[in-house]
Every structure is written in C-alpha cells, then in structure tokens.
C-alpha cells in the first residue's frame, strides 16, 4: 500500500521535474556541469549543516601532492530523505567521489566541487 502510493507519486512527477537538479545556491553558474572529476583520498571532515553539507577530502594529484578538496551537497533536510546522514563519513575514511568541479578550479584559492553521484566509502558503494 505504502509502496504503491510512493510509486504513483513518483510517476505523477513529470519528466520535467526529474530533469531539474535539486541544488540551490549555485546551480550551473559556478560549476562546470559538463565535467566529472573523480576524487580519491581520505576524509578529514564531514560537515552536516545548513545551508550546505560539505566533505573535506585530502586527495593526491598525479605528482603525489596533496590536494585539499571541498565537496558540497545540499542541506541536511534535502539529502537525509535520500539516505545521507551526519554519521556516514568519519575522518580517515577512504573515499572515492565523483564531483562536478567548480569552473575556476585552476585559479581558485580552494579546490571545490559538488557531489555528482557515485560515492564509495571504504570500498563500499553508497547506495541511497
């Protein structure tokens, strides 16, 4: 009964709405939505807060230098419904995250992107 209601309500939502990304604040203005960067490294902090949650990851670039990534997501109220939680990342966790990079990645003071989809935590794929 419950599943049926959900299925019907998801079906009732048109393609139009499904194609619209949920991210507030930035949207396409500052992110290079055509690109994907895969960030691999260790979590230093996971901040679960309004207006955005963000994950700090120390990754290694091709030359072996540490790159400090900031990967943002929406507010807790938006993503908790999809299974995200404040305890899902711990400092030291090894993660692999697909990221939409910021447009000014080369010149920005910080390396910033936003969660794109795939998240792997300590070898386990995060499935909402």
């Amino acid at each position: 009964m419950r599943t049926k209601v959900t299925t019907l309500s998801l079906m009732a939502v048109g393609v139009l709405v499904l194609s619209i990304p949920l991210f507030a604040h930035h949207g396409s203005a500052v992110f290079d939505t055509e690109k994907t960067v895969t960030v691999k490294g260790a979590v230093t902090e996971w901040v679960w807060a309004n207006p955005h949650c963000w994950l700090l990851v120390d990754a290694k670039d091709d030359d072996g230098n540490t790159v400090h990534w900031i990967i943002e997501n929406q507010a807790p109220a938006n993503i908790a419904n999809a299974g995200w939680s404040r305890s899902m990342f711990k400092p030291g966790d090894e993660v692999l995250v697909d990221v939409t990079p910021g447009k000014n990645l080369a010149t920005a003071a910080r390396t910033i992107g936003r969660f794109k989809g795939r998240v792997v935590i300590n070898g386990k794929v995060f499935k909402p």
């Binding site: 959900t6 309500s9 109220a77 999809a82 404040r86």
Partner: protein, 322 residues
C-alpha cells in the same frame, strides 16, 4: 449481573490478558527507549528510517507516508503534517508550474542569462514586471542564476522567506493546526510560520506591508479550504527564480483534500502591475500526509553558519574571485 457470572467474566478476562494476542499489543504500547528515540529525525540509516517525502530522482529508503489511506478525510480539517517533496516541492528553478528552465534539448547555457526568453512555460510579465525581474539576481538553478555571492535574494542572507516564496521553494514538510478561529501554518524551510484567520474577518484595506502578508481562509465545501493573502511587502520574492511582485499582489490558495492522506495545493498569483494575467504557481501540487509522530528536521537560516559556508566555499568558488 449474578456473582458467579461476574467472577467467570473477570476470570476469562484475566485468562485473555495473558493470551499471546493481548501480550503483543501490550508490548507495542510500551516501546523500548531505543524505539522511542528512533522517532527523532536523526541519522535515518542509524535506526528505523524516519525519512520524509522523497525528492524526485532520489529513491527513498523508507518513505514514511502515512499509508495512503483512501478513506475520506475528516470534514473541514486540514490538521496534520504534510509532505510536499514528492509532489515537486523543492522548486530550485522557480515555481512548480513555471520553472525558469529551457527544454531539455535546448543547448543554451543554464545560468547568467539576461532574461527568460525561451523557457518552457513563459510567465506573463508586464513591462514593469520584466524590468523588476531583471533587478532580482537569483542563485539556484534557474537560467538567470548567478554565483551566490553576486545574488541579491533576501533568502540567501537569511532575511525572512516571506509569502508566497515559502511555498515556492523548499516546500518540503509543513504542519497545519486548526483552532476555532485560525489555521496555523508551520513551514520547515527556514522555520517560517503564518496565521490564516478563519473568523470571517475581511482582508485589510490598506495594510501595513508584512513579509507574510495577511491571510484569511474559509471552507467552500467539506474538503476545500480557500485562502486569500494580501499586504505582502515588496522586499520578498515570489520564487527562487526571482519573480517579482508589487504591494498589490493577491495570492489565492486552494487546499483540497482528495482522501485521508492526500491533499492538493493550488496557488494563484494575481498582480496586475507585474503580470498581465493571473498565473498558477502551483496547480494541484500533491501533499502527502505524514505519520502524526513524524519529526520535522530543523532547517534554520543561521547567519553565522551561512557566513562560515560563504567563507569556505561560496566566495572562493565565485569565478570572479582569485
């Protein structure tokens, strides 16, 4: 009743109370403290998944819709906790019926466009409305969106959301309560609340402008509640695409209960200064009833948290910053 019969009745009740059926009911009534704490909307995967509505495109672990009861709703009663997320409540590109978006195949960029030419459902602006639109610089995902540090959306700096913006962006979970002379609306997004008067008063003629305006409501039948709102100040926007309004804006809402657990929300924007004709921001947007014990996750706009975010992410990611 004779004494033997009474004793027999009591004896059989005692026997019945130790039966498996009644024991099971007794266990449910006295939940363990672990189960009671899982009613809080924290870490849904940590325990029972008390998730709310499910956002389009995001599958739900465990939707907590009340059960989709198809029985008739209570008469003249909107009370309850209602989820609008699955009905498309996030509205990051503008009001549900009028997203400021291009059709999917359109190759134009999705940001920093000067106007709304070519969007899926054009808004009927007057010349004044079009000019006012252009002074509003939205963040978000509408085609006119700019980097958030360049935006001037009052909501971005933790100003009050105002009405009807509170229904046209992050319309996630609301709680409605009825008293003898009011419907009290509690909105999750930025913790906004407003009062809808049901005591038959008329709308004020020359109202002192307010962020949320002045609302009166009445039942037109047992399952349809109609609300009128006037007196909204000109600082507030209509939606996350920066649609403007004048102080002459009048908003009509129709809350219509379809069944016990389903409600439609229709919202009509009427502002002849800005729009040539009234338009529907919501057209029967569906709200689902949540379980009465559902805990609504807090969502405050905290200036200090916003500042911290802007310093770390929001400002540096602006392409114009070095």
């Amino acid at each position: 009743m004779s004494k033997p019969f009474l004793i027999a009745t009591i004896a059989s009740l005692v026997a019945l109370s130790s039966s498996p059926i009644l024991c099971a009911q007794a266990t449910t009534a006295t939940q363990s403290s672990v189960e009671r704490s899982e009613k809080w909307n924290n870490d849904p995967f940590g325990g029972q998944a008390r998730t709310g509505g499910c956002a389009p495109g995001f599958p739900c672990a465990n939707p907590s819709f009340y059960g989709g009861k198809k029985e008739p709703p209570p008469r003249r009663d909107l009370s309850g906790i209602w989820d609008a997320t699955a009905g498309g409540g996030v509205q990051a590109s503008g009001s549900a019926e009028y997203p400021a978006s291009y059709p999917p195949q359109d190759p134009r960029p999705r940001a920093e466009e000067p106007d709304e030419q070519g969007i899926i459902n054009p808004v009927p602006y007057t010349a004044l409305g079009e000019a006012a639109l252009k002074t509003n610089k939205p963040s978000g995902t509408s085609i006119r969106s700019v980097p958030s540090v360049l935006a001037n959306d009052p909501v971005d700096i933790c100003d009050p959301v105002g009405f009807p913006y509170m229904e046209n962006f992050q319309f996630l979970t609301i709680e409605l309560t009825q008293t003898k002379n009011q419907v009290i609306y509690l909105g999750q997004f930025e913790h906004e609340w407003r009062i809808i008067w049901t005591d038959g008063r008329e709308l004020p003629k020359d109202p002192e402008p307010r962020w949320n305006g002045y609302s009166v409501g009445r039942w037109t039948d047992d399952y349809t509640f109609v609300v009128q709102t006037v007196g909204m100040n000109e600082k507030s926007w209509i939606d996350h695409a920066g649609r403007p309004h004048s102080k002459d804006l009048r908003v009509t809402e129709i809350f219509h209960l379809l069944d016990h657990d389903t409600m439609e929300h229709t919202e009509i924007i009427d502002d002849p200064k800005m729009y040539t004709v009234p338009w529907m921001a919501h057209n029967k947007l569906i709200l689902h009833r949540e379980s009465p014990d559902f805990d609504i996750r807090e969502m405050f706009c905290s200036p200090s948290e916003t500042r911290a975010y802007n310093e770390l992410v929001g400002d540096p990611i602006n392409p114009e910053s070095k």
